[in-house]
Subunit: 386 residues, 2 copies
Amino acid sequence: MRKGKLLIIDDESPVRDTVVGYLEDSQYEVIEASNGEDGLKLFRSAKPDLVLCDLKMPKIDGLVVLKTVLEESPNTPFIVVSGAGVMSDVVEALRLGASDYLVKPLSDLAVLEHSIEKNLSAANLMKQNESYRIRLEQTNQQLEADLKAGRKIQQKMLPDNRAVIHNYRLEHQIFPSHYLSGDFVDYFELNDHQFLFFIADVSGHGVSSAIITVLIKNYLQSLRGSWESDVHDQLSDPSRILAGLNLYLIEMGLDRHATMFVGVIDSAKAKLIYSCAAHFPTPILKRANDAEALPTDGLPVGLLPEAVYQNREKSLVDVSGMFLCSDGLLEIMDEASLVQKETRLLEIITESNNSLSEICAHFGMGNVEDIPDDITLLSVNNIGLI
Amino acid sequence: MRKGKLLIIDDESPVRDTVVGYLEDSQYEVIEASNGEDGLKLFRSAKPDLVLCDLKMPKIDGLVVLKTVLEESPNTPFIVVSGAGVMSDVVEALRLGASDYLVKPLSDLAVLEHSIEKNLSAANLMKQNESYRIRLEQTNQQLEADLKAGRKIQQKMLPDNRAVIHNYRLEHQIFPSHYLSGDFVDYFELNDHQFLFFIADVSGHGVSSAIITVLIKNYLQSLRGSWESDVHDQLSDPSRILAGLNLYLIEMGLDRHATMFVGVIDSAKAKLIYSCAAHFPTPILKRANDAEALPTDGLPVGLLPEAVYQNREKSLVDVSGMFLCSDGLLEIMDEASLVQKETRLLEIITESNNSLSEICAHFGMGNVEDIPDDITLLSVNNIGLI
């Protein structure tokens, strides 16, 4: 097997003959030129792996050949050969980027071969590094394209943003820490006076957590099917939803759990029924001049089969809106302790009109890079009261 | 702002003073040593960005310093300074890897500064390339870790391999073309004489298709819930499953469809009821001495709301097994046309004992790299007849 293609440029044919003979015996493919002009032409047409070039030649001399070759192909090893008396040219050649130099007469051709081998393998190493980088970039692009496609599908599972159900406007924003989110929200009308909304935060993030959000969406979707066929009324009972989902996730055996808050608003009775599965921070009720954190309890769903969930009720008379978020939001807040962060959040909601765009702007969302955890915001506003 | 930290090693203090003064005026941080030994110590402790070193010095001379520095830190630019009479040393220094050389006396310090700037920026470029590569590698690892975690979750959704239901053994193998698969199989017992099995192939592959497989798994899971509460008997009716799933996927609005084959085996009556949603290739029934491709029809699920699915029946008397696969398998077969591939597949199953390990070995699965599409294999074997 040939070890590489070498181009020899030298105006002295006895030198060329000796060198070519020796290198061909050493399994190299050797092409040759007797002057700089032909040498450059041959370099361009034959694309050798290495150039061995005399410095002193008629017409175009070695330094010009060197400059041209390195301009056109900076990674081609270039070994210069000089007479003994012209060391200043050798210095110039090395400074220009020649890989090595040899002094004529080339009495020991093994030294030449050694230099060729050394420089060829250095050039190969550079090529390998380059193709490794290109492969890394391509792999990255493929992986990212895959994750982005997955993210699109996940986003399509989210409900319409700024939906109006009865006299409530629901808005949500999910900022995934990775391409796919372990947070999820959904909401839909149950009948002419009730609608359901939930926020869920699956342990972990990324693809695996996103798959669990699909299961949660799906679980409620299948209950909806039952609802529409008038068999069950589980959907107007948040604690039953959580209890069922808890067992469902445990039965799936995926070893993932989620915190979750499920609320059903009865717009006719101005009443909220809710149940909580360890969701944190506590959802906030907003009135004209104050805000109140809802009392919650409960264990995450998907963790313990014996977990029990209870419903709580809250009057919504005078309540203009509700704000829910995942704990990812707390992580980007500056306050020192969790209690301080919760207090601050309550203040922010009190002072705000509870619109998501305003709240996002307050936290500089959209400009936050490298979010440590998924961040989800959900606002539910009574259009009549704001 | 300082432009970089330079180490000057020179035994002539007037030279050092001039150079240091000039470079400090040019906003460099400069540290100095008066001999090679101190120079190397300072190099190790202060980690300068560039070294400027005299060649002729007492104790350790410049070439030794150069060799040592480049051994310990190959990417540190090293400029040598020499007297006019020792060009052979300069040549040696350049060959060893010095970045540049300057000849004493250093009459024009702008030339020195130019060389320093040029070599510092070349070194910075190398550093940037290096840290780019490291960042690429890290990103890759994170993306892969995310996808691998997702794959694990997807695998946990698959049924027990080599499960025995009634007198049938069910085995499956999924070879994803990417980390997550757009193919899926599942099977479970319906009652003491019936069990269900299906194979599905979602359009595309990767995360987004994997999410649809989760929906499909889930859809049947929710029917199972209904089944167990004795409300519906949809699960023993493959065409009803496909019709329901078709509408469900369309309602989800994810713009993805899937081909699918659903079979219900009644082990008491030795009968197969099945329905097909464009799944290809056709499942194969295996008897002692021959094999038969099942007739199928139907449109993919998730594509057209008006799609209609029908049930077909087949006696399983004398049938020892069934083999199902996704069309990914056809893509790695050598035959020229689809018809030839199907014919060959029929031959392979006829000649085999329909065990997955044997079939995998036949196709060299496990050694196949860069699978163009997900490949799924499912075998259903009557233990009494094989």
